[in-house]
């Protein structure tokens, strides 16, 4: 020891009979090969390894047979050469006595090693410090090294520390645990005695990996040979300045990680924390030796030293045991003599657990197999009532209140037990050992811990179930909403298409919607366009009027009997028709234009005063359309009649009566339209008067409309007369039928024309009214 180290102590602790001398009389022996090796896949804390060989495959000694699964996991290797005969569930050495997945190897007895070499040779470097720490850690993980003190925590996880740019870590102290405080166990003792240099060279590797400044090896003072051996080795390795072999007083449980740290440094690991928070990493001496073998020889963890002791064995001692060797095989080596009530404990007498049978394998954490006689370790007598003596509290090394924890655990008041730091209990068994009532206190704590963990797991699961349920509900609601929306959209589309069909069927003469929208698209320029259209319209109208006059004259002449005039009449009619279609087009354009304008005007004005309401069935627009439709039908009926007559069909009479009816309908529609128009005019006259500028124009258009209406009425009379005449001619079978029919057609056309004019006029009036309103508001 080169440094003077101030030793501390921890509270509590006990001094049970050591019983170590039985197993230290002989050096470590090599256990012979058993008939079968059983290797559980989960020999460490964390996720079980994944098998990477299949049944029937031949494996070599040291060959990897299972890969680590995730970060907190280590690999597994074949302890000897042989054949994988099964990967199946087998009983494992666990307090539960349950089965778990194991790989079963039948050794071939040849012990052929797989090719393996030092990490230094592999990377062709001379010194360990030339290798990146991460690579060394990877090697340790690949060699399947897990804590060999008893817990089996993957060593690589403990060695993965954060480094800054300079490569320094928050770790300053490495502690190697060679205390081995539990009675009977001497595996670490024998290891340190016989392989002290391996332990120290493992410590060197660890110091490099952690970038720690110093290393302390804590050993209880009941192992003087081990202490001497380590000091010797430290001298020969020139490591006395870095590595201190510290002798600590014998007290159970000084080998507990937290207790050893407290003894050596005086620091306490915080509740629920880890030693790394204090800048300390603690490793078992056996782990250090295994790290040395992995790094400098490339040998994975395939064997360990285990103590086989107890009064039921004739030759207790330590054996180097291949992992997976059955307990029964080892007990035979030690001369085990089954007792009346046979009992074999894996681990020490304080923290170990009784095995249900001996056909169980040795695993990485098996440091001792204890086969006590009945006198040596009587089975727990019946527990008596707690007398509240408080001895457990004095013995507890974790400064807990074992009595309180016992009451809470028994009453299943787990929340209170947790408040009393149940999870800081290291389950050392000191309280049970000192209990005069022989209450199995630790078992209560273990049960309570398990129950709390289970409850927490159940709570987490139910939380997840709740979330999944709520998400599912939300999804269902969304789906329903989407379905509803789709249904509505479909219904709307159907209604629209039906309406479009209806409109297309009944309303040929109505202005095309596309046209209207096209015009309204360039709304700002509509006013000049409208004026132009107006001019065109008036020009066409005058032309039509002239042509009509001429036509009338010609017709009169024809009627008087002048046959020569007929050609003129035809020519006039054609011209008339042409100009009429032109006018129709213009009127349509204008109507569209006006609509757009009206829409513009209606928006700011709020309501288009006097503007014909489309929704109102009695609006002039509607009525006019009705009238027009009726008129169109009448036209077609007349045409058909003419055809029938020309062919001399019998249907003439029925057609005639149909025409009469149609005529009546036309009259009716016209009358209704006129009435509505009149009403509208009256309504719009008020704003017209208010708008002084527009008033004359409006008055003009009103007068024009009146005259047009009169004309229409006259024309209608004429048509009626012509039809009458036609009827008579038909009845009498006269030759003039054809001519008369033509005359009727013409009359009809005239009527149409007049009506068109009237319509356009009405619209103009409406537009001017709207304009007035707009002007008024602006």
């Amino acid at each position: 020891m080169t440094h003077l180290i101030q030793l501390h102590s921890f509270d509590g602790g006990i001094h049970p009979a050591e019983n170590k001398q039985q197993s230290t009389r002989k050096p470590v022996q090599i256990a012979p090969l058993p008939a079968e090796l059983v290797l559980p896949l989960g020999q460490h804390i964390g996720a079980p390894a994944d098998p990477c060989v299949s049944v029937g495959e031949r494996v070599l000694k040291g060959q990897k047979i299972a890969e680590p699964h995730g970060f907190v996991s280590v690999a597994l290797h074949a302890p000897t050469s042989g054949e994988i005969i099964a990967i199946e569930k087998r009983a494992i050495p666990h307090a539960s006595g349950l089965q778990d997945l194991c790989m079963v190897i039948r050794p071939d007895g040849e012990e052929r090693w797989i090719e393996h070499q030092s990490l230094l040779t592999e990377l062709t470097v001379d010194d360990l410090t030339d290798i990146e720490p991460a690579k060394v850690v990877e090697r340790i993980r690949d060699c399947g090294i897990a804590g060999m003190g008893g817990a089996g925590f993957p060593t690589s996880v403990k060695l993965t520390v954060k480094r800054d740019e300079q490569g320094s870590t928050p770790i300053d102290t490495l502690i190697l645990n060679g205390a081995e405080c539990e009675p009977y166990i001497t595996a670490d003792d024998m290891l340190m005695r016989e392989r002290a240099d391996e332990v120290l060279r493992g410590a060197q590797v660890l110091l490099y990996l952690l970038n720690a400044e110093r290393c302390m090896i804590g050993i209880e003072d009941n192992k003087p040979e081990a202490i001497a051996a380590l000091n010797e080795a430290a001298k020969s390795l020139n490591e006395e300045h870095h590595i201190d072999v510290v002798t600590i007083p014998t007290k159970y449980p000084s080998g507990g990680e937290k207790q050893l740290i407290q003894i050596l440094t005086g620091k306490e690991v915080p509740s629920g924390g880890i030693p790394a928070q204090l800048g300390i990493v603690c490793q078992n001496v056996g782990t250090a030796a295994a790290i040395y073998r992995a790094v400098y020889h490339g040998e994975p963890l395939i064997s360990r030293i285990a103590t086989i002791t107890g009064d039921a064995t004739r030759e207790p001692g330590n054996w180097e045991v291949l992992l997976g060797t059955p307990v029964s095989h080892l007990l035979q080596l030690a001369g085990y003599q089954p007792q009346q009530q046979p009992r074999v404990i894996m681990g020490g007498p304080m923290m170990g657990f009784a095995l249900p049978h001996t056909e169980l394998p040795v695993v990485k954490t098996t440091n001792c197999l204890l086969a006590p006689s009945e006198q040596e370790m009587p089975v727990n007598q019946m527990a008596m009532a707690c007398i509240r003596c408080g001895m457990c509290t004095e013995a507890c090394p974790a400064q807990l209140l074992p009595q309180q924890l016992y009451w809470f655990s028994r009453a299943e008041e787990y929340d209170k037990a947790e408040q009393h730091h149940l999870f800081d209990c290291i389950e050392c068994g000191a309280c049970s050992y000192v209990c005069p009532s022989q209450i199995p206190l630790v078992q209560y704590y273990r049960h309570a811990k398990g129950a709390i963990r289970e409850e927490k797991a159940a709570q987490a699961k139910s939380e997840r179930a709740k979330e999944r349920f709520e998400r599912r509900q939300a999804r269902h609601e969304r789906e329903l909403e989407e379905k509803e929306a789709k249904r509505k959209a479909r219904a709307e589309a159907a209604a629209q298409s039906a309406a479009a069909k209806k409109a297309a069927g009944s309303d040929d003469a109505a202005p095309a919607a596309g046209n209207a929208s096209a015009v309204s698209a360039d709304a700002p320029t509509t006013s000049p366009q409208l004026e132009k259209l107006q001019k065109q319209l008036t020009a066409t109208q005058t032309a039509i009027a002239k042509t009509k006059e001429k036509l009338a004259e010609a017709q009169q002449a024809v009627a008087a009997g002048d046959e020569a005039m007929q050609t003129k009449v035809d020519a006039f009619t054609a011209a008339l028709e042409k100009s009429q279609t032109k006018m129709k087009d213009i009127a349509r354009d204008m109507a569209a234009e006006k609509k757009a304008l009206k829409a513009q005007a209606a928006a700011p004005a709020g309501n288009a005063e006097g503007g014909p309401d489309k929704g109102d069935p009695n609006s002039p627009d509607r009525l006019k359309r009705k009238w027009e439709t009726a008129q169109a039908r009448l036209d077609t009926a007349l045409k058909r009649l003419a055809e029938a007559k020309a062919e001399g069909l019998d249907t003439v009479e029925t057609l005639q009566s149909g025409i009469d009816k149609q005529q009546a309908r036309v009259d009716e529609a016209k009358a209704a339209y006129e009435a509505a128009l009149q009403a509208e005019q009256d309504g719009s006259s008020a704003p017209d008067a208010a708008a002084t500028e527009q008033a004359p124009a409006a008055a003009d258009s009103a007068a024009e409309a009146d005259s047009l209406k009169k004309k229409v009425l006259a024309q209608q009379d004429r048509l009626a007369k012509a039809t009458e005449r036609l009827n008579m001619a038909q009845q009498q079978g006269l030759d003039t039928v054809e001519a008369l029919a033509k005359g009727v057609d013409k009359q009809q056309q005239k009527l149409d024309e007049l009506q068109q004019q009237l319509a356009s006029l009405t619209e103009t009036a409406a537009a001017s009214t709207a304009k007035t309103t707009e002007d008024g508001t602006v």
Partner: protein
């Protein structure tokens, strides 16, 4: 007279100030939703099995908050009823048998996959989406997400879903509480018991001659 007026007006002003503060607090720190419903919902086991007659645990929590009985949850069992009684300050009642018996332990649905015809009925029935599969494809249960609610068993047309009790494994197993319960008086000890060690047999024979009543009591104590 003035003192009276001053006192009254001071009190009135104070009342106004506190009223304003309280009114502001009521608006500013308004509690969204019903907190008692969430608390009840947290106590329910979230199996979403619907055995209580409500479509899930949350609706039952709402019903309890509105005055429904607390003993309608068989998956939760007596412990849930006790917890609800503690929370709501009402008397704990025994589980209403009308809604089913308390299950012996957690269960998980397992589909016999070679018999599955891929009808997706169980997928639609699962309240937590723990069954995966597609039409005419084999389905399977995500065991970790299954709440063991039993709702998928009924709709299966080929009866290929089993409810299997979850067996403990090495990671979920934990120590049982010690068997030998503490006896109140020495005479409560049972005579020869096969579980006990041979040293028990050396006990004073006077222990064996205890009356039957005390033996019965100890038996009950041990069972509990």
């Amino acid at each position: 007279m003035t003192t009276v007026i001053i006192a009254v007006s001071v009190l009135a002003i104070l009342a106004l100030i506190f009223g304003a503060v309280l009114g502001f607090a009521a608006v500013r720190f308004k509690v969204e939703g019903n907190p008692i419903v969430d608390q009840i919902n947290d106590l329910l086991p979230q199996t979403q099995c619907g055995q209580c007659g409500h479509p899930g645990c949350k609706p039952y929590a709402e019903a309890i908050a509105a005055g429904d009985k607390i003993n309608k949850c068989p998956p939760g069992g007596e412990s849930t009823i006790q917890a609800l009684a503690d929370l709501l300050g009402v008397e704990a009642e025994p589980l209403d048998a009308e809604h089913g018996a308390e299950a012996a332990g957690p269960k998980v649905a397992v589909i016999r996959e070679d018999e599955c015809i891929g009808c997706t009925k169980c997928i639609q029935a699962c309240p937590v989406d723990a069954i995966i599969g597609a039409a005419k494809q084999m389905h399977t249960v995500i065991a970790d997400e299954c709440t063991g609610c039993d709702l998928c068993v009924e709709p299966c047309p080929v009866d290929c879903i089993d409810m299997v009790a979850i067996q403990p494994n090495t990671s979920s197993w934990y120590w049982q509480t010690p068997k030998s319960a503490v006896e109140l008086i020495a005479t409560d000890r049972q005579p020869a018991n096969s579980d006990r060690s041979s040293s028990q047999d050396d006990d004073d024979p006077g222990d064996n001659s205890t009356d039957d009543d005390s033996n019965d009591n100890s038996g009950k104590g041990q069972a509990a």
